[in-house]
């Protein structure tokens, strides 16, 4: 990133960013709202994966439990909105909210706290143990959500009217898309800043060689915990948007399949790459959609395609197009 020289990767990133913007806008003009919905889905999943990419891509922390944060974000939206709708106050007489900014703040704070608690314990382990302990926390919360009756248990919680954002009519697919897109781009920007910063340097170094980082006097634990929390918050924000996109939340947002899917998005696009999650989400959602329309056996073919990508496109889609990542 010396200067803003348009490296090949930067050009590709720009193209991806424009593509994700232009296609839905055009589709909306041509009266194809579903394309807009699909693009929104891509943007939100990419946002969730960008969050995970901080922990996984930069920090090498393979969290197999990020669905927890995705789900908590989703439930923040669902629960706050449901109280507005039902008129029953929540704890401390708070009436809930159907304003996205309020919901987002709640989601981000809740995920930050959850990330802090889970991270503080999980980061005592490393490698595969870390993968599994994060999964363990996710499973705990998943089973809790399934059987906790107050907010629907496994049936989930419907958001009857999409939550509102000041000055924007979120019920219009394109407006909602643009909102999500804006949040996505802002978070990708944040990711880029983090990656290039001193914090990012320490985090990435800790991924490559923990012992070395400690020996120069930086405690890897603190750095990683901070990264994990930020990562959880970003994924949680995505969860809140996802709930509003589907107008529905349920424990399946917390399931290990979801965690796995987020990881898959990242690898598919290119681990640690700025636009990896975007590329991954585009590829995945489009395949899922296109194949699902073609054949009932779509999962079989999706499997084949994913396999092809791992075997023949090292470093994911961005790796294939832009070559190996370099830290100068």
């Amino acid at each position: 990133m010396t200067g803003m020289a348009l490296s090949r990767e930067n050009i590709i990133n720009l193209v991806l960013a424009l593509l994700l913007l232009v296609v839905p806008v055009a589709a909306s003009q041509m009266g194809q709202p579903f394309t807009v919905t699909l693009a929104t889905r891509i943007a939100v999943l990419a946002l969730a994966a960008t969050g995970l990419n901080i922990a996984l891509g930069l920090g090498g922390l393979v969290s197999f439990g990020h669905a927890v944060f995705f789900g908590i974000g989703g439930y923040a939206a669902g629960i706050l909105a449901s109280h507005v709708f039902s008129g029953e106050p929540m704890m401390f007489g708070f009436e809930g909210s159907n304003q996205m900014p309020v919901i987002w703040i709640f989601a981000v704070i809740a995920c930050g706290l959850a990330g802090l608690a889970i991270g503080a314990i999980s980061l005592r382990t490393s490698g595969v143990y870390f993968i599994m302990i994060t999964l363990a926390f996710a499973q705990m919360i998943y089973y809790f959500a399934i059987s906790w009756p107050a907010y629907g248990g496994e049936d989930g919680l419907s958001i009857l009217v999409r939550n509102q954002f000041p000055g924007i009519n979120t019920m219009l697919p394109l407006s909602f898309f643009l909102l999500c897109y804006g949040v996505l781009i802002a978070c990708i920007g944040l990711f880029a800043l983090l990656r290039g910063s001193r914090f990012g340097a320490a985090l990435q170094a800790a991924r490559q060689n923990e012992v070395r980082v400690a020996a120069v006097g930086i405690s890897p634990y603190g750095i990683r915990l901070a990264a994990f929390v930020v990562s959880a918050m970003m994924t949680g924000l995505a969860g809140a948007l996802y709930a509003d996109l589907n107008k529905f939340v349920s424990p399946s947002m917390l399931s290990w399949h979801m965690s796995g899917e987020l990881i898959v998005l990242i690898i598919l696009g290119g681990t640690g790459r700025l636009f990896g999650p975007v590329a991954g989400a585009m590829l995945y959602v489009i395949f899922e959609f296109a194949l699902g329309g073609l054949t009932e056996r779509w999962q079989f073919f999706l499997g084949l395609i994913l396999l092809g990508v791992v075997l023949f496109a090292r470093g994911g889609l961005i790796g294939l197009l832009a070559g190996k990542a370099r830290h100068d």
Partner: protein, 250 residues
């Protein structure tokens, strides 16, 4: 000796099962000196370094550094107090260039790893300091090469550059000459000779030419015990040291 030692180790014990890797080690490092620690393979030299740096915890005994008891501190805390070390087997961030490896040390010294936004690669101060360190060890020309692609010897040099960048108050060097060619060893010897004026050096090394050329004092560790401490001449002449360690190399 008017000044109190920079590093002072008293009665350190460390056991692995039945093995006493440190068996009551008492040792100090005074400012301006090179104190060489030699001894047979498996005598417990690296284990001692580990305990000083905090990567292993002693069973008993105390470690004082810069007037402070550091025996209970974590690795990173000790490093921040000014303990600079190199590893017996190079330990670097492999994907980072040589320069960024050193930059990491510079930022660590500044204690500024929780700055989230300013891009490091536009941080002239950081880059210039790191570059200066690479220059000192003769790696300036390889600044942009990822550590993984450096040759064995070059990695050893990079380790030293990192320790320098930390602005350490004492250096713990575990076999810095290992893997350096004859030329590299010679240059490093010259370099360490000047470095001692910045901060004292505890030098673990099997290269006797280097040890004899550099050391103000030598301690000999055998089976976890210091069997002798003295000047180069005293140690060279010590018959116990000759049989246990030096052989004909004296």
């Amino acid at each position: 000796m008017t000044e109190s030692p920079v590093l002072e180790i008293t009665d350190l014990v460390k056991t692995f099962g039945a093995l006493r890797a440190s068996d009551g080690v008492t040792l100090d490092l005074r400012s301006g000196e090179v104190h060489a620690l030699i001894g047979p393979n498996g005598a417990g030299k690296s284990t001692l370094i580990h305990q000083i740096c905090g990567t292993q915890k002693q069973d008993s005994g105390t470690i004082h550094f810069a007037g402070q008891d550091i025996g209970r501190l974590g690795v990173a805390e000790r490093a921040r107090l000014g303990l600079g070390r190199t590893f017996q087997v190079s330990s670097l961030a492999p994907e980072f260039s040589a320069l960024r490896n050193v930059m990491l040390a510079v930022q660590a010294r500044a204690g500024s790893s929780f700055r989230f936004f300013r891009p490091v690669m536009r941080d002239r101060g950081l880059i210039d300091q790191a570059r200066a360190m690479l220059e000192r060890v003769g790696l300036a020309g390889r600044a942009k090469i990822p550590a993984a692609e450096l040759s064995h010897g070059e990695r050893r040099q990079l380790e030293i550059a990192i320790a320098l960048a930390l602005g350490s108050k004492a250096f713990l060097l575990d076999e810095p000459m290992a893997g350096m060619g004859p030329e590299g060893s010679k240059r490093l010897t010259g370099f360490l000779d000047t470095l001692r004026h910045e901060a004292p050096i505890l030098l673990v090394e099997h290269d006797m030419d280097a040890v004899f050329a550099l050391a103000d004092r030598i301690s000999v560790l055998v089976y976890g015990r210091v069997i002798a401490t003295g000047t180069v001449e005293e140690i060279r002449r010590d018959p116990a040291v000759r049989t246990a360690y030096l052989g004909d190399h004296a």
